[in-house]
Amino acid sequence: MHSGEQTNQFLAFSDVFNLQCWLATLEAPALDSRGVATGGNVSFMVTDFVASVVDLALNVSCIDCSSTRMPELSELWLKLDDSKDLTNIASNLFNLASKLVEGDFLQVAVDRALNDARKLCPHSLQYDPNFVKPAYDTFDTDDQEETYQFFITLLIVVACLGAVVSVVILAIRFIVHRRHRKWLASLPQSQLLKLWEQQNKQRDVELWLNAETAPLFSSNVIPCWVRWLMPVIILGNIALFLSGHLSLGASVSVMLQVGGQILEEENFFAFSMAKSTVEIWKGKFLSWPPLLSVDELIGSF
């Protein structure tokens, strides 16, 4: 633990049991609009937090249990004592606590508390009976900037791919066109004339077909009921897609069995395709690491 300079604040005897007054005796760092100490000034901080467990034993005895398998669970706990697994779990938990205590989160809370203490201690010169804790600005994240960078990268990649594909297509067309011209040049005049007539006929047929053919919806070749049914099917299909994307896609149920006792949590996590995609985009899958940490602790068994 590190404590910086002390203030000229003296502790009155009546304030001995007032925590705010004890805190007011410490130098409070200047805070910025977000409530974070400016210029790296720190007057009180936890520099090192060490806690260790040498041996942890857990004795579980069933006093009133509905499950018949609870005695087995007690035996299991006893077996864990032998394998030192419980001690390892406790050590892991203490390590996690150490990281939290030594981190920025606690430091910010301490700095804010030191600043507030002077206004809350009755014998402080800066005491303010109407003191209201300040509302600090929220921390900005660079999500927006990341999104823009991602979009720019995506656009560049798509543009590059498009350029490459266009070049390949143009090259193929150029080669095909050159071969076709070579082939035409090798043909005799009479055959060229025949080919030209054939192409003209084909073009005329196509033009006639386009002029005379009705849209599929009003074509006489297609049965009337099919003509009307097809748009209904397509619109129905769109409605089904919308329903599938927006409604519940799947749900996760948790079933925990401890000593024969079943604990069940229905719909622990429910998601739809639309919701999942938005959450993946926002990176909310980051909320899963705490669960994985628990899994890791269980895994250390």
Partner: protein, 84 residues
């Protein structure tokens, strides 16, 4: 585990874009194109071009199946069983 955040941030947005394009945008696009072609006169879209578009739609329609693929993968991912 310490690098889990990094892995997610490294791959998730690309996955989101793929799912959005193939599972959201593409199914509606192909349905609307089919509906449009059903009503479009050959003077607007020639018969040969209409046939060509239908063939392309038929070939590319399978890509919208990726949502089923993703859903199955998600369900399998959540099927976790821890036993002692």
């Amino acid at each position: 585990l310490a690098h889990f955040d990094f892995y997610i941030l490294a791959g998730a947005r690309e996955l989101a874009v793929i799912i959005f394009l193939l599972s959201f945008a593409w199914p509606y696009t192909k349905q609307l194109i089919t509906l449009g072609l059903w009503f479009a006169p050959p003077t607007m879209v020639s018969v040969s071009r209409r046939g060509s578009i239908f063939l392309w739609l038929d070939a590319l329609a399978k890509w919208s199946m990726i949502d089923v693929f993703v859903l199955v993968l998600t369900i399998v991912s959540f099927r976790v069983s821890v036993q002692r």
